[in-house]
Symmetry: C2
Subunit: 328 residues, 2 copies
């Protein structure tokens, strides 16, 4: 049984007024999906603690999916139980159906993440149900969340995957994505997100769809989850920033990747994202030098996994913050 | 002696009305600077022909520098002589002083490229003179160019290097960059460029400085030369695009790099740039599939050279142009 104290550690960001944008580390979930061996709970928690100590406050720590299908996340309960005890950390976990959501609620995660794929084909493969069935499931989950006592109620992050195109279906109609986002918004999630699951998005497409969705969903904060498969991850993040997006998913070392594109990068690299955001004059709350120290530990924690990202090789520009060029 | 027919192959782009942005391949100059062996003239010309056949129309084919200092470009005259004979191709070459400019003029290049570094320290190391001396040299070169008969007169591309920061000096004052660009503009070059020589730029900085410089130099076309050292190359290119920039330097396979940052990428990869621009709905004149075929030949032409770029690994999105999402 989880205690109500799990949630007393919120508010999530230590001092929300001290940061301008949220960097949400998804390496422990999205990033581990393609690692070809099971990473130990000990390593996951060491990574989580080290990156949190560098100032990253939002994490997707695991996925409450079938342990048979995804043995990588068989320790989801254990990881979540430790994560929610860490100070000033928002521990989120993914659920793809009601059973997963129930496990996440029981585990006491701060944020329950639920994603619907706009692509029927992708939805079928990923969640075992079509898009409308997934929306129905979301409505049931939200009904369940709303009936929880407030001290047991997680925040809900609701998103649409393959929002900018799909390797299986090609073009995804923006109107369909907007319909899904609006339908989810009606259920009262706390934050929302658009995901470029396969790295098909280009900058003006991201800016336009983000602007449209933000107009649709009103005051709900919008984030983006961008894969860098075709090198446009940071350009797309910048376009989202221009649209007013204030939350960005990323994975340390650009983990993620696609099994069908060997060597292609996965998520945007957290260290490269933080560098861009800070260079743009936005406070992330992250200490970039300490984050790069954590990045240097990744090869020990994840042997034989190809890591990406430019900053880990080149280092940050060698000027003090006082020397930093003024942003527009 | 060069014949006046060298220039009769201009106008440079086969059908300027058919392209919206100029992609200028600098792999044969910037990209070869750090290759640790001398590339044969035969290989250079094979690459040039193949990439031109894929629709790239603007090339920086060599550098008229001291053969002793840069043996890589000892064949500059031979490469230029062949390049200017290729149909519908604008062959440009770099010169760092009056002697180099004279050789470029004699060789009959379509475009003479002259760059001043805004960083005194970098200018001293790169060109053997400080910034003001380099500006004086540019004025002399322009006086020489203006006195040439029109059929022997190259176009001139004048640029400022380390325009967004310098590894040696840190911050570079935007006002200094604007002064230099304006002083060069007064001499009547045909196009101008701003270079992020060391990969220090961030997107809003690029957009802002490009906008300011465009206001300063009036109707002169402005291009950008962006290194991807810290992963921001394409984000910066997108920001330049937003500012109204219509010419972009890049190197096939992301060649270039920095000797002090092993593995860090150099210029933005031509194939990734073309993909972004075309996805944005802009016509580059380049056939991306054919360009990727040329990219696949690079490892044969340049053995043991590390190549970068996402698209070569992941491939372009699998949708027809008709399916392509509408741009904003």
């Amino acid at each position: 049984m989880k205690s109500s104290s799990n949630h007393s550690q919120q508010p999530v960001a230590a001092s929300p007024s001290a940061i301008d944008v949220v960097v949400r580390e998804v390496g422990l979930r999205d990033g581990l999906q393609l690692v070809p061996y099971t990473v130990s709970t000990e390593v996951k928690l060491a990574w989580l603690r080290a990156e949190a100590a560098a100032g990253v406050s939002h994490f997707e720590v695991s996925s409450f999916v079938s342990k048979r299908v995804m043995p990588q996340f068989a320790d989801a309960e254990i990881v979540a139980a430790e994560a929610i005890k860490m100070p000033q950390l928002n521990a989120g976990a993914l659920a793809l159906n009601g059973r997963g959501a129930e496990r996440a609620i029981e585990a006491g995660v701060h944020t329950l993440i639920y994603v619907i794929s706009a692509s029927q084909t992708h939805s079928g493969g990923n969640a075992g149900r079509d898009t409308d069935q997934a929306l129905g499931e979301f409505r049931q989950i939200m009904a369940r969340v709303r009936e929880l006592p407030s001290n047991e109620r997680p925040q809900v992050l609701a998103g649409v995957a393959t929002a900018f195109g799909c390797t299986l279906e090609g073009r995804i109609e923006p109107t369909r994505v907007r319909e899904l986002m609006s339908a989810m918004a009606e259920e009262g999630p706390d934050t929302m997100a658009l995901a470029d699951t396969v790295g098909y998005a280009h900058p003006s497409q991201v800016r336009q769809l983000c602007q449209q969705v933000m107009a649709d969903i009103g005051s709900l904060p919008l984030g983006v989850h961008l894969h860098d498969t075709r090198g446009l991850g940071l350009a797309n993040a910048y376009a989202a920033l221009e649209a007013g997006v204030t939350a960005f998913d990323s994975a340390l070392g650009g983990l993620g990747g696609c099994p069908f594109a060997p060597g292609a990068s996965g998520n945007i690299a957290t260290e490269d994202l933080v560098h861009m955001l800070e260079a743009e004059g936005l406070r992330t709350g992250v200490d970039l030098d300490r984050l790069l120290e954590v990045r240097r530990q990744l090869p020990e924690w994840l042997p034989d996994v190809e890591l990406r990202g430019a900053l880990a090789l080149a280092g940050p520009p060698d000027w003090s913050p006082a020397q930093r060029p003024a942003s527009a």
